[in-house]
């Protein structure tokens, strides 16, 4: 106390100045919102800085226990993620025809799990297989156009030959306006363009004409959109039109597809076999 008294009597003016300033500072930090929030933020930051070190220390001591907990949790999550059947059951969509011959096509919806577009013969895999009624030689269509043909299946997956295949795919397609049909192939240069050949030169063609599937192959139903005519020229070798078709479906971003199931396929094949048999018999 004596020390304080001596200090004050020697530097009285400075002391009273500091006292008044301290009062002002206390007022500033207790009454003004800006400074209050600043001091609150600083306090919180200091607090978390200190307690961060303390937490680090205690966390280190608990590492073994935490590790065990994590392993248990991981196991449960892996069981959840990989252990179960991931795919949902397909919903069948029915198409009714009015001809009276009963239903010809049903569709199985699926999702693409692997896709490629940059090879010479491209394939993709979908999450539907034998269990869902998907078998080889079924057509696969996408929401905006054709996608490919199933070539192999397992219980729950199917391998599909993409329409972007140079050697393996030939699809019957026709011009929607005139109805003339030709063969659709891919030449491997651009994932958006296919080529329609075998259409006679006298058939009128316009850029922008719609190209649809023809329905003569029992793989795709008739009238599925393939794309639009992007350009045409006469093929000098064959004398037919060589029409470039821009696919309406972007094969690179494909996700949802439908597998076309032809209910009358066996019947159609049987009658075509008799034709073959007839030809064979005539040749004999």
């Amino acid at each position: 106390m004596g020390f304080l008294m001596r200090l004050f009597s020697k530097n009285g003016l400075l002391m009273s100045f500091l006292l008044l300033q301290i009062i002002a500072i206390v007022l500033i930090f207790s009454k003004n919102s800006m400074q209050q929030s600043w001091i609150a933020a600083k306090t919180a930051a200091f607090n978390s800085w200190i307690s961060g070190y303390i937490d680090q220390g205690t966390a280190y001591l608990r590492l073994k226990q935490i590790n065990e907990e994590l392993v248990t949790q991981n196991k449960a999550l892996m069981l959840e993620l990989y252990g179960k059947q991931g795919a949902k059951n397909p919903s069948f969509r029915k198409v009714h025809d009015t001809i009276g011959g009963g239903q010809i096509y049903t569709f199985v919806d699926g999702e693409i799990v692997f896709n490629s577009i940059n090879r010479k013969d491209n394939y993709f895999t979908i999450n539907r297989g034998k269990r869902d009624g998907v078998f080889p030689k079924m057509g696969v269509i996408a929401p905006k156009g054709i996608a490919g043909i199933v070539i192999n299946t397992t219980d729950s997956y199917a391998l599909v030959q993409s329409v972007l295949s140079v050697n393996k795919i030939k699809i019957n397609a026709s011009l929607k306006n005139s109805g003339y049909f030709g063969t659709l192939t891919w030449r491997g240069e651009n994932s958006r363009l296919m080529h329609l050949a075998d259409i006679p030169k006298y058939v009128p063609v316009k850029v922008g004409d719609t190209v649809i599937t023809d329905g003569k192959s029992a793989i795709f139903p008739m009238g599925i959109t393939v794309g639009t005519v992007a350009g045409y020229q006469v093929d000098s070798k064959t004398g037919y039109w060589d029409i470039s078709v821009e696919l309406s479906e972007k094969m690179g971003t494909l996700n949802k597809v439908y597998v076309v199931k032809n209910l009358k396929k066996a019947e159609v094949e049987r009658i075509q076999d008799t034709l073959q048999a007839t030809i064979d018999r005539e040749n004999d």
């Binding site: 009062i23 930090f29 009454k31 003004n32």
Partner: protein, 168 residues
Amino acid sequence: MISRTLFTDILQILFLVALQIFVLNRIRIFGEFTPVLYPVFVMFYPFFRNKFQFLILSFLIGLAVDAFLGTWGINAFATTAVAYFRTLIFRSSTDTTTDFFSFSSLQWPQFLLFILSSIFFHQLLIQYIEFFKFSRFFEIFLNVVISSLISFIFIVIYTLTFKIKQRV
């Protein structure tokens, strides 16, 4: 010349605070700057009076302005600081080295420099404490310079009106 006592000091404080709050704070020059006049009490308080009384009265006038503006402590802090460092400011803005001052013996340029540096110091403290953001350093500094200049003009008008220089 009226002799100054504690009573006249308090009357002057009341007058200056009322002038500051009810008149000057309603003026918005260029839309955002307010002239500050009340530090004239601190600047022109006679040098030979009781220094403790001077400090406490300076604190009180700042606090009174704070009470009306709702900025508790900010003006009090700045005004008390100006009061305490007034001798220092006076000595650095004039050539004199003695402890005894009178304004009537000063040259006008030195007198104006004293006013300008006092009000600048005052505004510097107030604005930085009020905004309290170093990220806006230059913005606030510009604000300080402009409002000091505007206040300076008002203070000079005040000194001319009341003939401060001749009387103190």
